[in-house]
């Protein structure tokens, strides 16, 4: 995926000068003094934490919001005056897909093809190409409402790409999309860019941002910097290291993150990756990493620079550590399933899924969209009745067990399902209440959560008005309130920015240190690295089950000497595809 050379003298498709956008009844402007350009034949990445103003900027460019101040010119027109002219030549994919759930895949495509004036003769090849690309050929007659989250997103993208626009605005197109689709998506957009169109791509995946020709980094409505990503990456040069750790890597990471010298730290399988502050030194021994371990310098990534530019990961240990009682680890598995099968008519969504998760482990469920990961997940927490096989959590079959058994699990849904019109405090109290906490215990649990997650200033805000990152934290707090033994997390960081994700994993690590078990599904491959073991589910079956490092090792080859988790994911799926049908499993 190399970047195409692109001369700077191409006239910009979008020019933004001194843009400000204020919404009534808010103190801080959503955007303030923004200068930006999007050029033809380039991908411009728009990155920044939640609430930075990415969506607002895209909407202003798309002519869906008017600027309060400043100049905006899109394709030679002012969006405040001539939005129609812009819409004729601009593709836009909003965050919420923009699909009609009652319409089938092909009906959605035809609708947008008509709306965008794709002529009849071009239609068949265009549909064919887009369906092949999005891997939706098999589902053309399925209703959009019945597609998995990732498939919806793909279809939404296909709809935005229909008329080969001059300018493509993508608002977080890859949220909830699996790595394979993301790569394909990227390749496709790249192809479009090669034809000369300009793309503005807002994203929370910083490995994507790294591949952009140019990035705009926003924070709290202001632009922090812009330019080619490597320029920013250069700022953390020679400050990035990995540390090989064999035991207690979660504890060591937690200790490291408390040091002032450490700006960022994540787990990568059996290693810990650290970003150090300029000029500061770090001693592995100081965090108990043991003698013989040494810091190995590695190439900086855009993500490192991003975290650095935003001032690093918040310091401090997760307060979860002090708050929770440790769980006695015994031999009995926390989660086990045997030949778990789910059929919807002829379609086998989960096919004889078998695994077992010991206590105190983070277990990841990975897989492409629609592979059966959500189905398996839902059967485990008792939301779906299996067609065959058994699932036991903490020794209980949750579908049949008494309601007390469900007291031992926590569940955090994909969409951070909270009661939007209740305040933070009321949401916390509600979830404490339905898990049977009362009186003093409830008050304590709620105030503990307020403290751990720093909700002090927000307790009386309606949770629907919180930024996404806060919602996610609140959803997590709600699922932890009753100190569950097993925690189910369904794409818990989907659409959340890297800093909030770091914080999230700090809490998860602390939980696991206390002997809790975590089952997680995710599309972020760097998050899969946090897992002790990972099950890769594809076409309803478990095609691989091992630790992240083992998975990576299993796909090592001469072409790819040091595969990433994403490489491993893609290689394993491909390998499974190549096996003759029937012989697999």
């Amino acid at each position: 995926m190399s970047r195409q050379p692109c001369p700077n003298d191409v006239p910009p498709l979008v020019t933004v000068r001194g843009l400000a956008k204020r919404f009534p009844k808010t103190r801080r402007p959503a955007l303030d003094g923004i200068d930006a350009e999007v050029r033809a034949g380039r991908i411009t990445g728009l990155v920044g934490p939640d609430g930075a103003g990415k969506t607002t900027l895209i909407r202003v460019i798309a002519g869906l919001l008017t600027a309060s101040q400043g100049e905006v010119e899109v394709l030679g027109f002012d969006p405040a005056v001539a939005a129609e002219k812009i819409h004729d030549r601009c593709g836009y994919m909003p965050q919420r897909f923009g699909l009609y759930e009652e319409l089938s895949v092909i009906q959605n495509l035809s609708l947008y093809a008509d709306l965008r004036g794709v002529p009849g003769e071009e239609r068949a090849p265009t549909f064919e190409r887009l369906l092949r690309f999005t891997d939706l050929q098999r589902f053309t007659d399925r209703k959009a409402g019945a597609l998995s989250g990732g498939m919806k997103q793909k279809l939404g993208l296909a709809c935005a790409l229909l008329s080969r626009p001059a300018l493509l605005l993508l608002d977080e197109p890859s949220v909830g999309v699996d790595p394979i689709s993301r790569r394909e998506l990227w390749a496709m957009v790249k192809e479009l860019v090669g034809e000369g169109i300009g793309v503005l791509w807002s994203t929370a995946y910083l490995d994507e941002a790294e591949l952009c020709d140019e990035v705009i980094l926003l924070n709290e409505g202001r632009k922090l910097c812009s330019g080619p990503p490597e320029e920013l990456t250069k700022t953390v040069e020679s400050r990035t290291f990995t540390l090989a750790v064999h035991d207690g890597r979660r504890k060591i990471l937690a200790r490291a993150l408390q040091q002032d010298a450490v700006i960022d730290g994540v787990i990568q399988g059996e290693r810990i990756r650290l970003v150090l502050r300029e000029g500061d030194r770090f001693e592995p021994a100081s965090v108990g990493a043991g003698s013989g371990t040494e810091l190995r310098p590695v190439n900086p990534r855009f993500e490192d620079a991003f975290i650095d530019a935003l001032g690093g990961v918040p310091k401090g240990e997760s307060a979860v550590t002090q708050a929770m009682q440790p769980v006695f680890l015994d031999e009995k598995p926390a989660i086990e399933c045997e030949d778990l099968t789910k059929r919807f008519g002829d379609f086998v969504a989960a096919d004889r899924v078998t695994f077992s998760v010991p206590k105190g482990e983070i277990f990841g469920l990975l897989g492409p969209n629609g592979a059966g990961k959500s189905t398996t997940f839902k059967m485990l927490c008792g939301l779906l009745r299996p067609s065959g096989g058994q699932a036991r959590v903490a020794g209980y079959d949750l579908r049949r067990a008494a309601s007390q058994a469900r007291n031992r699990i926590g569940y955090m849904a994909q969409k951070f399902s909270l009661y939007g019109n209740l305040t933070v405090q009321q949401n916390l109290e509600f979830f404490a209440g339905i898990y049977g906490l009362a009186g003093k215990r409830r008050r304590e649990a709620v105030s503990r959560m307020v403290e751990i997650f720093g909700f002090k200033d927000q307790v009386n805000l309606a949770s629907g008005q919180l930024p996404l990152g806060f919602k996610q934290r609140l959803a997590m707090a709600c699922s932890l309130m009753h100190e569950p033994d097993v925690l189910f997390l369904d794409e818990p960081t989907s659409g959340v920015d890297p800093i909030a994700r770091r914080e999230f994993w700090t809490h998860i690590n602390a939980l696991v240190e206390k002997g809790r078990t975590v089952m997680v599904t995710t599309h972020f491959m760097d998050e899969a690295e946090y897992c002790d073991r990972v099950a890769l589910i594809y076409r309803g079956r478990v095609i691989a089950l091992a630790s992240p490092d083992e998975l990576k090792r299993s796909v090592r080859s001469s072409a790819c000497a040091d595969p990433t988790m994403e490489d491993a994911f893609i290689a394993l799926i491909r390998r499974s595809d190549q096996q003759p049908a029937g012989a697999a499993g």
Binding site: G382, N407, A413, L418, N421, Q426, A432, I434, Y435
Partner: protein
């Protein structure tokens, strides 16, 4: 279990009442409806417009016409000269009915040869027209009684002394206001319950409830109680408005009324939850509510007495909780009906409540599968 339930009830209540707009929306429009519809629900026909064509010159005809034009319910009387005019007035809906006194009326009257007056009614408003016909008929009857020679008074005569108990002046407000108290209470409790599950489904919080230790029955109760109290609260306001604003007499026992309201609201909430469980979107729930509420209203005895319906339809009304509550509310307000009569109307509602709630819980469990 009690703690879980308490949390759920608190949440449902807050979710309904936290938004000030919601609070207003749950109380103001129903109250407005009570005030406006109390007056629209009348089947008393006043201000009737009437056209008269008198083709007879005799004294009895003149007397009859004079009586008709003086009657209080006939607010405007047109005297016309030709049958054409009569027809035009009816066609254009200028009058509700017209009267023709034929040329031979007086002759026949004196000859005691069944004199006739011809009435034409506007069938487009047949309900009002029939009531107007009733008034007219009684005026005509009174006329023929009074024409009896006063020479032979007494012996062999008989008078009929009409009296109306419970509502001496047959004031329609006394009928509509108590009826509307329960109809609007029904509407409020349906609105709150039917949308609740589809809304949670659309928000994604329903799964969250399902994985929690809450039992299906607890979720049902949690959704029921707030709707329940809201409905009772609204009903209280309506009862107060009925007594103090509309001055409807209240003769019965207040505790008995409340006990009945409790049973009634339970049965309505049961129906509401059942709809709620069966619908997957808010649109379906709202339209489903309509599809239930309109027949419920028709079959309640409010728009027309149940006794007038064909028997098989009367049997259908037994499934309608509104039917029983109508009897109770009017009975307690106006008639001070004894407890055993209330009870006879209570147990069917209780049975409906138990039936719908168990069905709703059952479909809840089935949905989980």
């Amino acid at each position: 279990m009690w703690n879980r339930l308490k949390a759920l009830i608190l949440k449902e209540t807050l979710a309904t009442l936290r938004d000030p707009r919601n609070r207003v929306a749950l109380i103001a429009p129903p109250l407005l409806q009570l005030l406006v519809f109390s007056f629209t629900g009348t089947q008393d026909v006043k201000d009737i417009r009437l056209a008269i064509l008198n083709q007879d010159y005799g004294q009895p005809a003149a007397e009859l016409v004079q009586r008709l034009s003086a009657a209080p319910n006939f607010s405007q009387v047109y005297f016309v000269q030709s049958p054409q005019q009569l027809q035009e007035l009816i066609d254009g809906q200028r009058v509700l009915l017209n009267v023709r006194v034929p040329a031979d009326f007086s002759r026949r009257f004196y000859a005691n040869d069944s004199p006739v007056v011809q009435i034409v009614l506007d069938g487009r408003k047949s309900m009002a027209a029939q009531i107007a016909l009733g008034y007219l008929t009684s005026i005509v009857q009174q006329f023929s009684r009074d024409q009896l020679q006063p020479a032979d008074p007494g012996k062999g005569v008989m008078s009929v002394e009409p009296r109306n108990w419970f509502n001496p002046n047959l004031d329609y407000l006394w009928f509509t206001v108590p009826s509307l108290v329960v109809i609007i209470t029904l509407q409020v409790s349906m609105n709150v319950t039917t949308l609740s599950v589809p809304r949670e489904r659309e928000m994604g919080t329903f799964d969250q409830l399902l994985v929690s230790p809450l039992r299906p029955i607890e979720i049902m109760i949690g959704k029921m109680i707030p709707a329940f109290f809201l409905a009772l609260f609204d009903a209280t306001i309506f009862v107060l408005v009925a007594i103090f604003v509309f001055r409807i007499p209240f003769h019965g026992s207040l505790p008995l009324l409340y006990f009945s309201l409790v049973v009634f609201v339970s049965s309505v909430v049961g129906i509401g939850l059942l709809i709620s469980m069966l619908c997957s979107t808010q649109q379906q729930a709202l339209l489903g509510t309509m599809a239930i509420m309109m027949p419920a209203l028709i079959l309640s005895g409010y728009t027309s007495p149940i006794e007038n319906m064909p028997e098989w339809l009367q049997a259908v009304t037994c499934l309608n909780p509104l039917r029983y509550m109508m009897v109770i509310v009017k009975g307690i307000f106006l008639k001070a009906i004894p407890a055993e009569v209330v009870l006879a109307n209570l147990w069917p509602m209780a049975a409906i409540a138990v039936g719908t709630l168990s069905l709703a819980t059952w479909s809840f469990r089935r949905h989980l599968a």
